[in-house]
């Protein structure tokens, strides 16, 4: 089951989706059992920004049919805080379980992103960087990652700052995700990951006043509800690019992971399902291993 991903040797193809597992909090909650049954082959951090962010006011969660709408708002200590407070603890824990650290970053401009990458390049505990391009462009309000031209330009501009693998986490809120993936590839991405959450909203339930429910106004939909959308987007992307693809969106079981691998993903990330079962990642990995290696009848070519 071991997988080569952009030169990282992983023990299996299952990682966590950014922002859906806090290793340090899990350490507090689960202690030794977290290490004994570590769920992921590599660990992806929450999105880190240059400046600290408090995140959105509560409520931050809305449970929807077979899904979850979140409006967390990317709270984080900022790059300096992350390096000072989290990185040492993260990397010592990850060293124990032999899983590399992938740091997810987001910036509003190419300059911000370049700075984030530069700093990550200097930290040897960071094995790779995932760049979240679901950040609204300050001028247009649209996600940087939604416009292929803009995306390619940004990736090209920042690429040289990072010698480590650069994964571009695409936005699913676009007319043509395959073209965005191709743009990331053209700009120099080593891999792409998808899908991020679908733009979504909820109004307050009966008994509450009828404003948007989420403190952030709108949110993003994740979980099983979006699985068929994720499969379509991953298939479209994998059939277009030749760099590795990290597939995610509603994965709950080895079967769902296998579907993403079948359409061309190299790794699969587990997100919302970890909220229901913190060992979900491990169960998925074990399920894949139990099913045995598949003859590579990849659908990638046929799509």
């Amino acid at each position: 089951m071991s997988v080569d991903f952009c030169g990282l040797e992983l023990s299996h193809p299952i990682i966590n989706a950014s922002g859906t597992f806090d290793l340090l909090a899990a350490d507090t909650a689960f202690g030794a059992s977290l290490r004994a049954e570590f769920p992921f082959a590599a660990f992806v951090s929450k999105t880190i920004t240059l400046a600290p962010r408090a995140g959105n006011p509560p409520p931050r969660l809305w449970e929807s049919p077979a899904g979850l709408v979140n409006s967390i708002g990317l709270p984080n200590k900022g790059l300096a805080g992350y390096l000072a407070h989290d990185l040492p603890a993260l990397s010592s824990l990850l060293a124990e379980v032999d899983a590399p650290l992938i740091t997810n970053v987001m910036g509003a401009t190419a300059a911000e992103i370049a700075r984030l990458l530069e700093v990550c390049q200097a930290q040897m505990q960071i094995a790779a960087v995932e760049l979240n391009v679901s950040c609204p462009n300050v001028k247009t309000g649209l996600d940087i990652g939604a416009d292929p031209k803009q995306l390619e330009a940004v990736v090209r501009e920042v690429r040289s700052r990072l010698a480590k693998p650069l994964i571009v986490k695409l936005t699913p809120n676009t007319a043509d995700v395959a073209t965005c993936a191709a743009a990331a590839e053209a700009g120099g991405a080593d891999a792409v990951s998808l899908i991020n959450t679908l733009r979504a909203m909820a109004l307050a339930p009966a008994g509450h006043s009828e404003s948007p429910w989420l403190g952030g106004g709108t949110g993003g939909l994740s979980g099983p509800a979006i699985r068929p959308v994720a499969l379509a987007q991953v298939a479209a992307v994998a059939s277009r690019v030749s760099i590795p693809v990290v597939g995610m969106g509603g994965v709950q079981s080895a079967r769902h992971a296998q579907d993403l691998l079948d359409v061309g993903a190299t790794l699969v990330a587990v997100g919302t399902q970890s909220f229901r079962d913190p060992l979900a990642g491990r169960r998925v990995a074990l399920g894949l291993a139990a099913a045995g290696p598949k003859s590579p009848v990849s659908l990638r070519a046929s799509l």
Partner: protein
């Protein structure tokens, strides 16, 4: 160090489901689970058919205070007090003995005991009385003094060394939940049982007589806010068990935050019990179902 949960959720068998007025008491056999600290909670989900209820929910598990931890017929049992307020609690309430529940827990930061010699005043509202039961069990156990077991209201029993519980309910059916604790004084909104009014009226009287008490409170946000304000004014230490909409219960989703004086705090890892002094006010979303 706080008791920690195994990362592997456990499929536990329902050994009992009793009505208690407007509530239900769910008993789960938990032979291998770690003993919880009072104030800790678990994330629960029915093993079968967690989903497919109103609005095709629930999907994520639900948080419940561990209300009691005691020896049962086959090892330890955890008790939970449930109030049916939506699809998740409804599904749990319909479980029968022999069915299974996924349990992740014990989770979170529980209550810390009062300093030596100070009396604990437990203040609960509605289903928020649940964590006070296990806290009272522990306090009584430590003090070695069984509380007077009558729940009759009005009889003021300052002699009770510890664990006196002031409980507020909507009406008589809800007030039956008080049977979960001993040595209780009750207030009801409709006056059906005990004091006709707010549980904080009872609290004021108690604090008048014993300003050295330490307050332990859990309940709806307006109640918690009243407790916080009263204790802040009187400079009485108060530990509040907060609630919040949760998806994970172990710090993964950042969904359960409440505002504190120094920023947002995740109720599931830094709480649910926090020192009232850390709050400027209790957020409207940070309490138990009203």
């Amino acid at each position: 160090m706080r008791p920690q949960a195994p990362i592997a959720r456990r499929a536990l068998t329902v050994v009992g489901m009793q009505e208690l007025g407007a509530y239900r008491v769910l008993r789960l056999a938990d032979p291998d689970g770690p003993a919880p600290a009072p104030g800790q909670f678990s994330m629960l989900a029915a093993v079968q058919r967690w989903g497919g209820g109103e609005d095709e929910r629930p999907h994520v598990p639900r948080a419940f205070s561990i209300a009691r931890w005691q020896e049962g017929e086959d090892g330890m049992e955890a008790h939970y007090l449930l109030e049916d307020v939506g699809p998740g609690t409804q599904r749990l309430c319909e479980l029968r003995a022999g069915e299974e529940v996924w349990v992740l827990g014990p989770l979170g930061q529980g209550f810390t005991p009062p300093d030596e010699g100070r009396r604990a005043l437990l203040v609960g509202g509605g289903v928020g009385i649940a964590p006070l039961a296990i806290l009272q069990d522990l306090l009584l156990q430590h003090s070695g003094t069984p509380a007077t077991s009558t729940g009759a209201e009005g009889r003021r029993d300052l002699a009770a060394p510890t664990g006196v519980a002031l409980l507020g309910f909507r009406d008589g059916a809800h007030a039956e939940g008080a049977a979960l604790l001993q040595n209780v004084r009750i207030a009801t909104d409709d006056g059906a049982v005990g004091h006709h009014g707010l549980v904080t009226d009872l609290l004021a009287r108690e604090l008048d007589e014993d300003p050295e008490a330490v307050v332990y409170a859990c309940g709806p946000a307006p109640m918690l806010e009243a407790v916080r304000a009263m204790c802040a004014e009187r400079e009485v230490p108060a530990r509040l068990a907060l609630e919040s909409g949760m998806a994970c219960g172990f710090g993964a989703c950042f969904g359960c935050v409440v505002p504190t004086k120094d920023g947002y705090l995740r109720v599931c890892v830094e709480g649910p019990v926090i020192d009232a002094a850390r709050l400027a006010h209790v957020d409207a979303h940070a309490g138990a179902p009203a």
